[in-house]
Symmetry: D2
């Protein structure tokens, strides 16, 4: 699935657990917005705020995964010899959106 | 729920429907990441990409709601006389994250 | 220069003055980074922080201009009859980067 | 100036040169906006577009410095033994704004 790198590099188990916990809560938050949008009287800005809140929660998940990747894989890249590929890949994903 | 404004201002029904359709797909995408994170071998950057993709989809939803709000409520604010409040509120939510 | 709209719509003089004052300070900040980068011993993250600080200051300028535009031009758009164009144009510029 | 790290870590000379070249051009761009804002007839969105363009150019500079930092300092951090500090510091600056 990954383009270039990551063979044998796995997300830290504790971070993976934390990310899953947060994503379950995010799924619930999305459910909440869906419910909110059933109401014909919903106000645009109230919906907008909820969307932003979910994005903030996703930022948090992304930050955890990024930190783990930097610490466990990027910081050790020179030792493994794949620094060039890993850095390119990371920069690509950081400007993704 | 809304702080200052929005009395009698409702999200356009067609936009509301579109947003719901997209949010159901986003919920499915979050499910997909949860499944992905069950795998002990998952690679950080693959997870990161999926998180970014969901954020992109949420940006889209936010953009639709924002457009509708600008067109239906902000652009008519001077006629109603609540421009000051509506603009403050909007700027607040735009820098939310 | 502007694509579609803005005929006869001018930036509020006080905001224009404030933006100029801030941009002069931003120019000085850029000068400072240029000076900083003359030093062969400069540390990446120190440079990065300064770049981010300038971007924060530019965000501020953008926010002022945006607020003025929303208040003086978007909120009155329905009265003038150019809401559609103005909103399209604004959404375009908001996702510019 | 830097909080925790960076002793003996210097920005790559070629990147430093490239960043300076770009920042000189950015300074000129800021000059241009200052001139633009002397005009009483300037349209908000035209000013906004220029501000966004400068931010895009600064993103580019930031990206170059970040890439160099990742490659030359973060990827070698495990060898030096300062991975923890460097990663904390980097995450801090990435969410700066």
């Amino acid at each position: 699935m990954s383009s270039c790198c990551g063979q044998g590099l796995h997300l830290d188990p504790a971070v993976r657990e934390d990310a899953r916990r947060r994503l379950r809560s995010i799924r619930g938050h999305v459910e909440g917005i869906l419910k909110m949008l059933e109401d014909e009287q919903v106000y645009c800005v109230d919906a907008l705020k909820q969307v932003k809140a979910v994005q903030g929660a996703l930022d948090k998940v992304g930050g955890l995964v990024l930190k783990s990747h930097l610490q466990n894989h990027v910081a050790t890249a020179a030792q493994r010899g794949d620094a060039g590929d890993l850095v390119e890949e990371l920069l690509e994903v950081l400007k993704y959106r």
